[in-house]
Structures are given as structure tokens and as C-alpha cells.
């Protein structure tokens, strides 16, 4: 391993160390040097894990350090943000219902509510999913929404989130109380599966996503149906088990006695290494879509930065494996990366020629 490889690994492991058990009301005691905290604080801030970092640091001898105070500031801001979002959500759900459209609240708040405090898990927009039948009503109702006040994404169905049909996801959704109002969220099994596949699809670059998986596992109900969670597709079930395995290996998520325990303890080395590498630089601008600083077609006119952008657009091995529906075994990943890159080039060229959708 090169020197930079060792440095990256160490940084990734330090991030993992700070977030170990951080989602619990009483996380484990933290033992860390101040210099290490100083090094990873920018990474926690950039990746949205600062509140969780403060949650671990607040009862340690590092709580008065400059880095800890920065984490505490982030925790305060995220806490305020969650309060602002709460009132927005009830307004938005009421608006949808008045139009005869029943929403399912996904991502954001639906995940944050699992944590001991909402402010521990920041999120931006409010995501609402609707059945295909009621989506048009919702769109019409939100057409004149004050977008300076409400940041909301409306989704027709659930296809962007999961392969399971909308009808099944809707039928398995359940009501949760928020601000005196009942709002529907996904069933806990579906939510955990989606958290796993979402993290993998995006190369697990954000440590917060594994914290989400960990808290979802540890707060599951006694009636949790693992078969319903992993689904019938063996390949996808294995992906879910591996994502859970990452949450266990790096963050200490408790998976003893679960059906995924054995697989979760036998992760391929490349998956572990790549996750740690990504955690050494968890900056949103390094990953899609923010890494796509300009449409690729503009490089034909002005090739400045072309080499850099090609390097950045080269598929991450985790993402490539998922996109090509490959297995998480110990074989090299480059065939999936080449295949994924080829597919994207084909789609891009198809878009240029007007024969298919464009990418990048």
C-alpha cells in the first residue's frame, strides 16, 4: 500500500472510530487524540455527520477543544433545522391531503426520527412520494407553493428509490405521528432495504448513511420481517447484507442473531478498502451529481479540465457493481467499471444523436 493509501485508510478508520455507536442515546466512551479530532472534523462537517460527532465528543475530555466546539455549533444548527422542517412537513402534508393526494414521507425526516434527537441527522429537502394516480393532484396542489419557504421534492411512485412496486410499498407503509398529525412513512423493512441499496448505489461515500443503517437495525421492532426486508432477489439480498455488514464492521452496529450476520462478517476486501478510501474524503463535490461541474458535451468545444473530469467520472467500484447488478465477491472490480463506463458512453452518444437519454 502506498503512503497516501495508508493515510487515507487511517483517516477513514478515524472517522469510523468517532461515529462508532454514535446513533445511540448513550454512545460508548470516546478515546481519541485531539490532533485526530482536528483532522477529521472537516470531514464530519462536510459529510453531515458533525452532529453525531458532537454526540460522541460531548462527554469526553475533548469536549472543550476548538474542533469539538465547531461540531457543537453544527449540532445546534441542525437541531434548529429539524424544528423548522417539522412545521414545514405538517403544512405540506395538509396541502396534499386537501387536494385528495395521500403522501408517503421518505428519506429525511423518516430516517432522522429514528435517532435519539432529530438534530443528529440533518437533511435538506422534504421528500414526498405519491401513487401514480394521485401524483397529478399533488403536482397541481403544489404548483403555486412558496418555494422560498418550502423545499420539497415530489415523487411519482417509488421507482427512484426501490425496485419493489409502488402498490406493495404503499400497502406496507404505516402512520407515524408528527406534530399531532399522522403521516405515512415506509414500512421499517422497506426503509432498511432502501437505506442499504441507496448507500451502495452512491459508493457509501457518506459515513452518515451507514449510521442510518445502524440505527434502523437497532431500533427495529420485534416483529421485523427479515425476509420482507431483503426481498426475493438473491443478488439484492446479498447487497443488503453487505451494506449491513459495513455498518457492523466500521460502526459497531449490533447484528447478532440476525439472518445477515454470517454474510455481514465475510465482506470482500475491496469493499472494505474502498469504503475507507471514500471516507477519507467525504466531500459532496467529489461525487455525482456535484462532481459534474459542467455538461460533458461542453468539453468538445473547450477541453480544459477534460483529463480531470474523466478521472472523476471513472465509475467507483461499489457504484459500478450495483449499477451492473454484479455480485459482491472477491473478483476484481474493473470489468464492472469498464462495463458501466461503456454503458454510460453509449447512453451519452445516444443522447447526442437523439436516439436515447443523455448522461452526465
Amino acid at each position: 500500500m502506498t503512503e497516501s493509501g495508508r493515510t487515507n485508510r487511517h483517516l477513514g478508520e478515524t472517522v469510523a472510530g468517532i461515529l462508532h455507536g454514535a446513533w445511540r442515546r448513550n454512545p460508548p466512551e470516546l478515546e481519541l487524540a485531539e490532533s485526530e479530532l482536528d483532522r477529521v472534523t472537516p470531514l464530519l462537517l462536510a459529510s453531515g455527520a458533525a452532529s453525531l460527532g458532537w454526540w460522541r465528543v460531548r462527554n469526553s475530555n475533548l469536549k472543550s477543544t476548538q474542533s469539538a466546539l465547531e461540531l457543537q455549533q453544527a449540532y445546534r444548527l441542525h437541531s434548529l433545522q429539524s424544528a423548522l422542517h417539522q412545521s414545514e412537513i405538517t403544512d405540506l402534508v395538509s396541502l396534499a391531503r386537501d387536494a385528495g393526494a395521500e403522501p408517503v414521507l421518505v428519506k429525511g425526516w423518516a430516517v432522522a426520527r429514528l435517532y435519539p434527537e432529530m438534530g443528529l441527522r440533518p437533511y435538506g429537502d422534504v421528500d414526498l412520494c405519491f401513487s401514480k394516480e394521485s401524483y397529478a393532484k399533488a403536482e397541481a396542489a403544489f404548483a403555486n407553493l412558496d418555494r422560498t419557504r418550502y423545499q420539497v421534492d415530489l415523487h411519482e411512485g417509488f421507482s427512484k428509490l426501490d425496485n419493489l412496486g409502488s402498490e406493495q410499498l404503499l400497502s406496507r407503509s404505516r402512520p407515524i405521528s408528527i406534530g399531532g398529525m399522522e403521516v405515512r412513512v415506509l414500512g421499517e423493512e422497506d426503509q432498511l432495504r432502501i437505506l442499504c441499496t441507496h448507500a451502495l448505489r452512491h459508493s457509501v461515500w457518506r459515513p452518515l448513511w451507514l449510521c442510518d443503517i445502524a440505527v434502523a437495525i437497532e431500533t427495529r421492532s420485534p416483529e421485523f420481517d427479515w425476509q420482507r426486508c431483503v426481498g426475493r432477489d438473491a443478488r439484492e439480498a446479498d447487497w443488503v447484507a453487505c451494506a449491513i455488514g459495513l455498518a457492523h464492521r466500521f460502526l459497531g452496529a449490533r447484528i447478532e442473531g440476525t439472518p445477515v450476520e454470517q454474510r455481514a462478517n465475510a465482506l470482500p476486501g475491496w469493499l472494505v478498502r474502498r469504503t475507507l478510501k471514500n471516507w477519507s474524503a467525504p466531500f459532496p463535490e467529489l461525487y455525482p451529481p456535484l462532481s459534474y461541474t459542467r455538461p460533458f458535451v461542453t468539453y468538445f468545444r473547450d477541453p480544459t479540465g477534460l483529463v480531470r473530469t474523466l478521472r472523476m467520472r471513472w465509475p467507483d467500484p461499489i457504484e459500478a457493481t450495483i449499477r451492473m447488478r454484479g455480485p459482491f465477491n472477491s473478483f476484481p472490480r474493473w470489468p464492472y467499471q469498464v462495463a458501466n463506463a461503456s454503458r454510460r458512453i453509449t447512453m451519452f452518444l445516444g443522447g447526442l444523436l437523439g436516439t436515447g437519454p443523455k448522461t452526465g
Partner: protein, 160 residues
Amino acid sequence: MISKKDHFTPKARQEGLVVQELADEVLVYDNKRFKAHCLNQTAALVWQHCDGKTSTKDIALALEKKSGSSVSEEVVWLALSQLGKSHLLTGRVIPPAGGAGISRREVIRRVGIAAAVGLPVVTSIVAPKAAQAANCLPSGSSCTSSVQCCSNLCNTNVCA
């Protein structure tokens, strides 16, 4: 409200504020000024008793009851001074007659260093410096989504 010291009944501002209570402090977001504030326990208690009917003397008594130790009215005035500067009260805060204003240093001098720990503190919450070094928008910038802001808080198209 201008009145004699003993009858000053401060009133907390309600409009345009979002309040979040944490274990040891209270956070307040001012929707009109796009500023976020943090009140420690003492400051929060004072603010919560500012109902427009309770005098500063009675607020001090309430703090005494809560803390189990003696609380001078100067502590309440110190809190009111900070709350007023942060625009969390309605109307002006007029310091007690004969005083140019209450300073933290002066209060510490009077109540003693041991009691200084429980003094009211109202601070502004600013985005961490490390976040500002990244490619994000600083406080006061126009925004369309919270992820654009260093503070991760975009409200009414302005970064907190």
C-alpha cells in the same frame, strides 16, 4: 416599556421565531433577521419568564427557586441586556437607574467567580469555520436548498 426598576416587566418576542429546546440550552432562530441564537439554561429561564407581567425581581425569585441558591436581580438584568441585543424581547431594555449598563465582568465582580458559572449567556450560532472553507455559501447568502449553506440551514432563501 420604560418603568421604574422594580416594575419593569419584560416581554419575550414570539413572532418570527422558531424555538428548539435541548437538554441544556434553548436554540432560537429569528426568521426576520436570519440569525440563530443559543441561550444557556439561565438565559433561557429568564426569557421564558418574560411574559410582560413578571417583574425582574420576581424573575430573580423564580431563578432562585429553580437553582436553590441566591440569585441577584443583576443576573436577570444581564440576561435581559443580552436578550435585548439579540432582538428576543419586545420593546427596549432600560437598565436600572444609575447604571450605564450591565456588563458580565461587573456582575461577576459582584456575585463572585463561583457564581459566574450560572450566569446567563446568549450567543449567536455561526457556521463552523471548517465548513466555510469548503465550497459552501456563508451566512446571509441567497440559497435554494439547505445543502448549499455552510450552516446547512436555508430558510426563506437565505443561509442562516
